[in-house]
Symmetry: C3
Subunit: 267 residues, 3 copies
């Protein structure tokens, strides 16, 4: 990287990155119409933040959302504007690269889910290592309503984490989960009261940051080695399918109807 | 298929098939001594019903049991009559083909478990995509008492869904689960009050039937691709072992004792 | 085995082996500073006990701990004395062989967790087939504090049993679980009151001992076949990493600090 590129890397516009003692905080703080939605620009900055955290002295990374939403998922208006084929291709390509960056990230990632985690915002949670959630978080993948297919390796990770009966109800039928339900099925490690969530999460992250970074990385490597190849393969299959779906008239129409129904995500 | 075969296919004697708007209902309604028991004739009709639903305009299939039992499992009297070797071979062959048909079925299958799901009646649930259950359903695989080995790919799916500690207690020790327990371990997606179960399940199935059939099928393909080869391999291993077990004097004796104890399944 | 070796095999000093009708009881009862800690001598006796139970007429094995601890895990003082490289190599080698013996053991193993299961004492539970626990049992793997990596195939079995969010909180962050929590995530099959635990467990084990030993073994073979190769591979990777870690100054220092903090394990 040239100096200029490296400087640019810190001029984030869609996320906030805070270097703390022994670990790195990454906060979604996007300029998208729906709060903390994900588009190629956001993915690019997230990738850059992970790249920096990989090579600095961070022992681990904490990932959270600013405001009262964790992430509203893929930025649908992006897919509905300009040439739909080009948008679908760019979005699929950006997801492919971002998910691969998460899968390859060698240090533990702790997600702090502060509010609704919708679609891809929920799907990436099993790619994080530990998932803490506020009691007011909710979990929802509207893939059926959007006439699209699963993202973020959820077609592989969800059945593994929670079994097929629950994974399919989430991915095919679009069931909405409370934080406690997400905990009971294993998607979430622990649930905290909304007002004190960060007071609970930060000390846990700080404590982990005191552990041997070498041991944490070696442990993650052992745990992760069993699924890494499958995650990469799944990501590839999912992105190919998503690109095709998103550019279809059926899916375009479903996305428009969804956006009209879900005005509450836009604030 | 000739016209005559195709006509015959609809003359079901052991199941009831109802074509609804956008989906198909299949109800077990057998003539076996134990309610909704499974034998080669029942499997043949189930296979035919799945075959028809695969090629018609159904978006998905709902599978349930008539009366107050979902399924009492394999039709043991069938295995105890005539030449035990021939019966064991025919039963194993019929299970092999039926399970492969379920594994290969491309559209979502929603099970509505209305009462006890015993043995194979319980084992096939993870081959369905979503599993709704009545609060009065119970789940039980008496393989230890029957001196037999697991069926319906349960030797693979059960540990995957619920972990080894619980899977082995069900498959080796014969633990009986309530509907709530089955939900807690991930075998069941949701539990409803017995009196209103169908009023809860049908709208959910009808809602899924409004989703893009193409997207549902593509999603199932992605989710299912990770385990399909393993399911087929498991089914093969299990059926070979079952055929050997069922024809053994040890197992024949155990089946007779089981039938004497479980008179309540015969009504 | 010569007669003398075979005789010696029964002169256990670190465990108690009881041959019961149809099954074998193995109790940890070690001479280590921390109660029921595990070192090469203990592993050798456990391997010998499994070897005997494999070839005798036992239908299954029950494994428990004497006193009020199930196992405090690896015997840390052993790793801190003498040449640290030689100790680390011997310990890793002993774990490799013991875990492989458990993985290859063909009959069901029922664990009865009577108290705290720490580190390797917790990690081996998914290698047992059924896990009963006392309500006063607790579950804890202090790998972060010890600056070491996972043992006993837990880097593979934990994510499989309970999902990644919980597995990583246990293996990376060192979360301590109650018996009820261990049950809810699938690590434990059932929890009993401390005072009546053995009155609950023994009849269940005795009942399983009445089942066809051939059917139980064939069932375990089917269930186990899906993960056996992965367990052996995981064990190998973990032991290589553990040997390196344990002999590092970082880990030696962390073990000393841990022993000072955890005086309550020494009684």
């Amino acid at each position: 990287l040239s100096v200029r590129q490296s400087e640019c890397a810190y001029k984030y516009k869609e996320i906030v990155v805070k270097k703390c003692s022994g670990y790195t905080q990454i906060w979604l703080f996007t300029n998208t119409p729906a709060r903390n939605a994900l588009n190629p620009q956001v993915f690019e900055e997230l990738k850059q933040a992970l790249y920096n955290a990989k090579f600095d002295d961070s022992g681990l990374v904490m990932l959270s959302g600013s405001g009262n939403i964790f992430s509203s998922g893929v930025d649908l208006p992006y897919l509905l504007t300009n040439d739909k084929r080009i948008s679908a291709r760019k979005m699929a390509e950006a997801i492919r690269e971002f998910i691969n960056a998460m899968v390859a990230f060698p240090k533990p990632i702790v997600a702090a889910v502060n509010g609704p985690a919708v679609g891809l915002g929920m799907a990436i949670l099993p790619l994080c290592d530990i998932v803490y959630a506020s009691d007011k978080a909710s979990f929802y993948a509207p893939y059926g309503r959007l006439a699209q297919t699963p993202e973020g390796c959820s077609s592989f990770t969800f059945p593994n984490v929670m079994g097929t009966a629950m994974a399919n109800e989430l991915l095919l039928a679009g069931r909405k989960l409370t934080a406690i339900e997400a905990y009971q099925i294993g998607l979430v490690s622990q649930v905290f009261w909304p007002t004190s969530m960060m007071q609970e999460v930060i000390p846990r992250v700080e404590n982990m940051a005191t552990y041997s970074a070498k041991a944490l990385e070696a442990s993650k490597l052992l745990i992760h080695s069993h699924r890494r190849a499958k995650l990469e393969y799944t990501n590839e299959s999912e992105c190919n399918m998503l690109q095709e779906r998103w550019s279809s008239p059926e899916c375009q129409k479903a996305m428009r109807a969804y956006l009209e129904d879900e005005q509450d995500l836009l604030f």
